[in-house]
Symmetry: none
Subunit: 244 residues, 2 copies
DNA sequence: CCGGTCCAGTGGTCGGACCAATCGATCCCA
DNA sequence: TGGGATCGATTGGTCCGACCACTGGACCGG
């Protein structure tokens, strides 16, 4: 006679509910360590499987942080968790390099502009450190790609929006072909000098300058990439005709 | 000596990645049933535990629907499914809502600018149709939110970038509650007139004007939202002091 | 042709075992 | 005595095999 459950309530769901109640009671505050899984499972009267299921969900939503060999800690969800719908979306969508590149070109100049307005002492130090490491790089060495990614990451961090930071990371990951092709073609000297221009503008808190520098940098990367691809496709044709 | 892995990569994470590859290959379409868990686990060479872990994550994000006794089905996440797990997160932690609003403010002005440069006959018709419907709306009726979402969708469609379109859609879903707060506060007249200004700029293929109009519109929305929240929180305080 | 029954297959739950990472106490040596 | 290496207990991560709960469809009887 009562409402029929359209969806069988899973045990993990109930546990999630109980844990949320526990959270809201204020008894659990950020940084605290939860009891061990085996203990919690016994306490709730469920198997460790179901208990873990509940914990994983809360972890995915950013409320928990499980560390192997240590414990599970309470934390307050930040943009890291919120970025997941976007990351999954981009990862699931059919890959279209043009759309992804354009998307990045929409976002990142604004990120540079934001960074210029939100520069802190830490941010200044991080940017200078990145610049120093980039300058010390050997020409076209294998670490250029890594430092390049790191630079963009630091910049997004200075901008202070975790969601945007993670989304940009995902975009870069999906566009790694672009990087491996266009970076060597551009050469580390050119890349680093373009980065330097961006950094200088941010350090000067020149909002428009930072945006413009980043825009030109990305346009340059895109152009180099397209040229390199065009050249590769055409030399491939020639290579087939040559021995070796 | 090499980079230290800050986060141990879990098996379920890898499986999620492989499933995402499968998704975007187009081989899996909505409504399809996945192979049984036992079979999939064998196929990926992992235990059923880890495989289930991956499936549960994709289920939480709205990409899968598991039915006991039947099977696990592929689905395209609608706004509800996608935003529901995260809605609490947005509503209870203002910092997260701010990140999302800022993210939107980064993207959408550029989308408006893009739309202005890529306007086609179809796009013109769609925008005019949207404007007409918006004008015919009763003041603060229930359909205002719907038409508002539709307007932004049409605009992104005119801009012609599928990735950006879907990202903005997700953003709006996550911010749904924000909209229900700020829209009535602004009133439909003001909202529609701001939309109209954007549409006019796009129709005139005025790139900078469209960007600027959208930026001001979003700033207005954000300000209205913050005011409304501030007022709500403070009237809550007063309500506590009053009887009833 | 209809309705009920039964059964194979599927996701959900369980318990136990072992692996792997971490922390901290302990021990050893300079 | 101080510092560093070692080892063990603890904890989350993974695997396995079994069983439960539910569903859809085949089968059967009227």
């Amino acid at each position: 006679m009562s409402a029929k459950p359209l969806r069988q309530v899973k045990i993990a769901d109930q546990v999630v509910g109980e844990l949320q109640v526990w959270f809201r009671s204020g008894e659990l505050t950020a940084g605290m360590r939860l009891p061990p899984e085996r203990e919690l499972a016994a306490q709730f009267g469920v198997s460790r499987t179901s208990l873990r299921d509940a914990l994983r969900r809360l972890e995915l939503l950013g409320y928990l942080d499980a560390r192997q060999g240590d414990g599970t800690y309470v934390r307050v969800p930040d943009g890291d968790a919120l970025s997941q719908p976007f990351r999954n979306l981009v990862n699931t969508l059919p890959h279209n390099a043009a759309d992804l590149l354009e998307f990045r070109m929409l976002i990142e100049p604004e990120v540079a502009a934001l960074a210029a307005t939100r520069l802190t002492g830490e941010g200044r130090a991080a940017l200078l450190g990145s610049l120093k490491r980039q300058r010390a790089l050997p020409d076209n060495g294998p670490r250029l790609g890594h430092e390049d990614a790191l630079f963009h990451d630091v910049l997004a961090q200075v901008a202070g929006n975790m969601v945007v930071l993670r989304v940009l990371e995902t975009l870069r990951d999906l566009l790694r072909d672009v990087r491996t092709i266009s970076l060597p073609a551009a050469g580390s000297r050119r890349t680093v000098s373009e980065h330097e221009r961006i950094i200088q503008a941010v350090l000067a808190q020149d909002r428009d300058g930072a945006r413009q520098a980043m825009r030109e940098h990305l346009e340059d990367v895109t152009r180099t990439y397209q040229d390199a691809v065009w050249r590769r496709d055409h030399t491939d044709q020639l290579a087939l005709q040559r021995p070796g």
